[in-house]
């Protein structure tokens, strides 16, 4: 009796899981199918099979001067890549500074960072916009990169990781061997933190790649736009007169790079989601 109950539950669970997975994948499936079809095909209605216009659509996207998608992808890669590197390096440095050294302001500094852990950046957006304009950095990529040095959430993740995997005796041993403090950090601590850095680099990269609010305020000229701004401009343009095949292809090139990276690294990413969670 108990056995049939549990096997019924197993079947039910699978059905629900398959339905949810279908919901998650369906939209991307339609997106990719539609990106391979021509405008005329798309007008005729939906078809589950791919068309032959993949390269044609891709070429149209690449040659579109008013929506420089590939330039946008390049800008996005520069911004996200630099942010990921700066953010993980300086967050590790800050975490190590607070973890390994005793000093007067230590407790206060830690409390401060924890207090602003989840403070939304939007609330200071107005002052940020004015500051950036005064500094002459309006319409440049720098204000999208440099602030990532101070990321409280990444700091907290790094700090928790150090607590669990860096014994202070190791730092002492390095000192006795005559290693300088910076040298110790770069040569001993960073290699130990590699798994944490990798996970956070991915999350920072993706977060920055998808970020829309701040870049949309700062960036003005077409050749500096990142992908989300281009997507927004596309939405704002006189949309219905466009080649729909091209539109689907633009969305595809905006999200497929992340999907590929995700599928390659999914194991680490999923393991990383929970690492920075609440302390038990």
């Amino acid at each position: 009796m108990k056995k049939t109950g549990s096997s019924f539950r197993t079947v039910f669970a699978h059905i629900v899981l398959i339905l949810l997975s279908f919901m998650c994948l369906f939209f991307f499936y339609v997106l990719i199918i539609n990106a391979t079809r021509s405008h005329a095909d798309l007008q005729k209605g939906f078809s589950a099979l791919p068309g032959k216009n993949f390269l044609e659509n891709l070429k149209n996207v690449a040659n579109d001067g008013s929506f420089p998608m590939f330039r946008g992808i390049l800008n996005s890669i520069v911004v996200s890549g630099c942010s990921a590197v700066l953010c993980t390096y300086f967050s590790s440095l800050t975490a190590y500074g607070l973890y390994a050294y005793e000093f007067k302001a230590r407790k206060a500094a830690f409390t401060f960072i924890m207090a602003i852990l989840v403070m939304p950046t939007q609330v200071t957006a107005m002052g940020f916009l004015r500051l950036v304009t005064k500094m002459g950095l309006y319409d440049s990529l720098l204000p999208l990169i440099i602030p990532s040095i101070a990321s409280p959430a990444v700091f907290y993740f790094m700090y928790s990781y150090l607590q669990s995997s860096l014994p202070l005796s190791l730092v002492e041993a390095a000192r006795i061997d005559g290693s300088g403090e910076f040298h110790t950090f770069n040569r001993i601590v960073i290699p130990i933190m590699k798994p944490a850095i990798a996970v956070q680099a991915i999350f920072t990269f993706v977060g920055s790649w998808n970020n829309y609010f701040v870049p949309a305020l700062i960036i003005q000229s077409k050749n500096k736009m990142t992908v989300p701004i281009l997507i927004a401009t596309l939405r704002g343009a006189d949309y219905m007169n466009f080649d729909m095949g091209k539109i689907y292809m633009m969305i595809t090139v905006a999200i497929v790079p992340i999907i590929i990276v995700y599928l390659l690294l999914s194991k680490y990413i999923i393991a990383g989601v929970t690492l920075g969670g609440v302390k038990e």
């Binding site: 669970a13 997975s21 939304p120």
Partner: protein, 318 residues
């Protein structure tokens, strides 16, 4: 012996310095500036710049009379439509994934798939939904060819349709993340507890409500608060889906979209005051997160239990 007295403290300061300098320049100065201008009349009409003239609390008062509360309510409704199914589904999935008696095949595959939408660019996802659910888009075309509907549905023409689409997108983007968080919490529960409940003849529903749920309460409340903060920041999806208009009739306009429109029109005084309101709300939420990440008693349950025990004792004595 002498070597030990070297003071390494200065290295600590040096290492945390970059973080604090950058935070000071790019967050604290802007915050002070934002608060300062919230007390000024300062906007642009046409090409003429008006102000800054000090006007005290007037921006705050006129915001209270504006549609701010309506947009706050919109944000709350949109968040709820996404959050309620998200937490229910995530709880059920977390219980299933961690249930040893259920033999779920391809667990890793399902985890990878349900987490996928979380990484998708919200703005591109919203544009995709806009094209797919438009009157001549693929969804209508599929429904019509299946014969389920006769005429295309104008999803984005109705309040219900637009709000459901936004809520549905938020649900899709976040339920995988929540599932994985809750799963980690369930797996943190000692196996002994589950085994003991098995021996006592607990069925899976009893086990879920009487063991799993109470034991993951800290993570549940953490998820709730961080999700509220995320909901407060809701912007990309409704902004792109409705092209910044919050259509129909501004029923899907969120607070950050409201802020964005003030920033775009360079109404710095109003944008400042609105930011201060948002700052106060986020500050309160930040305080809860701070308590949860730093206390041993994250959701106050122990404190409540202690208080209850005290009252009990008092009652017995009296």
């Amino acid at each position: 012996m002498k070597k030990k007295s070297i003071n390494y403290g200065k290295w600590g300061y040096l290492f945390i310095l970059p973080f604090f300098i950058i935070y000071f320049i790019f967050s604290l100065i802007p915050l002070v500036d934002t608060v300062r201008y919230s007390f000024f009349e300062y906007f642009r009409s046409g090409i003429k710049e008006i102000g800054p003239n000090f006007i005290g609390m007037e921006n705050y008062i006129s915001l209270l009379k504006s549609d701010m509360f309506k947009y706050g309510a919109n944000t709350l409704i949109l968040w709820l439509i996404g959050f309620v199914p998200q937490i229910v589904i995530a709880l059920v999935l977390a219980a299933w994934f961690t249930d040893a008696r259920l033999k779920i095949r391809g667990k890793q595959f399902f985890k990878v798939v349900i987490y996928l939408p979380n990484l998708i660019m919200a703005s591109a996802f919203a544009l995709l939904f806009f094209t797919m659910f438009s009157t001549n888009g693929p969804v209508n075309s599929i429904l019509m060819s299946l014969g389920w509907i006769k005429a295309p549905i104008d999803f984005m023409g109705s309040v219900f349709g637009t709000r459901s689409l936004i809520g549905f997108m938020n649900f899709l983007m976040w339920f995988g993340n929540t599932t994985i968080m809750l799963m980690a919490a369930v797996m943190g529960i000692s196996m002994d507890v589950f085994e003991a409940s098995d021996l006592d003849g607990c069925n899976s529903i009893q086990r879920f409500f009487y063991i799993t749920l109470p034991l993951i309460r800290p993570i549940l409340s953490y998820t709730l608060i961080t999700s509220i903060i995320g909901g407060l920041q809701m912007f990309d999806v409704p902004q792109i889906l409705t092209n910044g208009q919050g259509n129909p009739d501004r029923t899907s306009m969120t607070l950050i979209m409201f802020l964005n429109s003030h920033l775009k029109s360079k109404n710095y005084g109003m944008a400042g005051a609105l930011s201060v309101y948002l700052f106060i709300v986020s500050g309160i939420l930040c305080f809860f997160v701070y308590r949860m990440t730093n206390d041993n008693d994250p959701d106050g349950s122990k404190k409540a239990a202690k208080k209850r025990a005290k009252e009990e004792r008092r009652r017995l004595r009296g």
